[in-house]
Amino acid sequence: MSDLAYTRYELLRAFRNKRFLFFSLGFPLMLYFLTAAPNKNTANLEKTGLSAPLYFMVSMASWGTMTAMLSTGARIAGERQVGWNRQLRISPLSAFSYLRAKVAIAYLMAALSLVTMYISGAALGVSLPARDWLEMTALIVIALVPFAAAGIFVGHKVTVESVGPAIGGGTAVLALVSGTWFPVTSGFLHDFGQILPSYWLVQAGRVALGGGAWNATGWMVVIGWSLVMTVLAARAYRNDTNRA
């Protein structure tokens, strides 16, 4: 019995899904070159203190990684539609191993998206000390926890027909409010964005400014959402044994 083998086949499936690869890898990459390349020499984008290539590198990475994490939802909804979740529940695969495989794949895909954006950023002149790269990556990984749980939650709550619009629409709204397309530095959007984990995902780029990239609010928001979404995801998974 090997959970690793199971994860490997799941990964194979994720890579064979072209639409998913496009939205989590190709699309953010394309947008990055469209937004950052023309502003390659902007050193202080909209008073953020960050260069345009750095700011957009992190903001597009947040979009790609968020999509990667939430795509768990599309995979689970697809499996539920064909009754595969019931098939798995009558196999020795434990709930823990099942969810761990889902989360592992989401993070692997997110890592791929992140590395792609880092390489593209470096190509447009983003240069940071190794320490900052690491710290930024760690913050992104942490800020993705609520999205990992949200993917599982959505997968068990939404039908396969509506999961695409739900994830696409959800990420688009979150991206808008969280400063993914352009920095949001003041006003209602800014205040509202602060209570979302996606806002702090984008803010991970602030490591370049020295000091902590997140303030106390940031940590509280990310940890709070992580806890809430994990509880919701666990509950949605447990309650979902019925025939489709």
């Binding site: 019995m1 086949y9 499936r13 009754g83 529940r89 009558i90 196999s91 020795p92 025939r243």
Partner: protein, 302 residues
Amino acid sequence: MESSTLTTGIRLEGLVKTFRTPHGPVEAVRGVDIAIEPGETVALLGPNGAGKSTTIDMLLGLAEPDQGTVSLFGGAPQDAIASGRVGAMLQTGALLRDLTVRELIAMMASLYPRALGVDEVLELTGLAKAAEQRTEKLSGGQAQRVRFACALVANPDLLVLDEPTVAMDVEGRHAFWATMREFARGGTTIVFATHYLEEADDFADRAVLMAHGQVVADGPTTEIKARVGARTIRATLPDAPDAALMTLPGVASVDRRGAAVTLRCSDSDAAIRALLTRFPEARDLEISGAGLEEAFLELTAA
């Protein structure tokens, strides 16, 4: 493996399950008791809505009974499943896409501690030629075989099949049961739901008849067949006395509506021969097998 837990088999006791629906509660299962010994092959026979699938869901731990208990090999269904002793082919369900047939079966095999070899299962289920095809490109019959292969590869002590041949043509059905016979020689306990009497008759040692959420008959398939396999003879026969018809061999009951009589038979072959000998004037003869549905209604009404 401890023989004590092997010998206890499967026990369903006092199972009750009610579903809430927009049209009010539906009592899907209303007090079901079934005991199955290891190595037995049991058919759950019944029309749609009899409660077969709900019973199977409870047997597998996919649904929690409102009342009653389920025990598989002396423990909870979840324990038997966690140790890989149960393989099942559920009724609803397509296949996971973006994998080849071989990959999907290998993925399932990886989850079970005593799994069969993937090639062996591909061979057994007649899928060797389709092994490298993507699951989403398969025909209905092939997909059904793959679902069967996913259950077989577990090499289970208990194999549960919920209407396994439902989408198959006659040929596919024969091939399916031939494979099952091969597999059943290994002493696996097999429980399958069907609404085809002949499947239960051909393959099971024992049939449990369900109707309206209850067990209406439980016994060797030969016995069950005699009960529900009854045929009726209809004839236009105005002048024969009912009492005389009743004495014909193989006739169980006589029902008359004017000139038309209906003879319910335990042995229709003997009855028709005797009828034509004694009453050659009988016209408009019609012999029909009692449908399962009809037989069930009768059994539950009694």
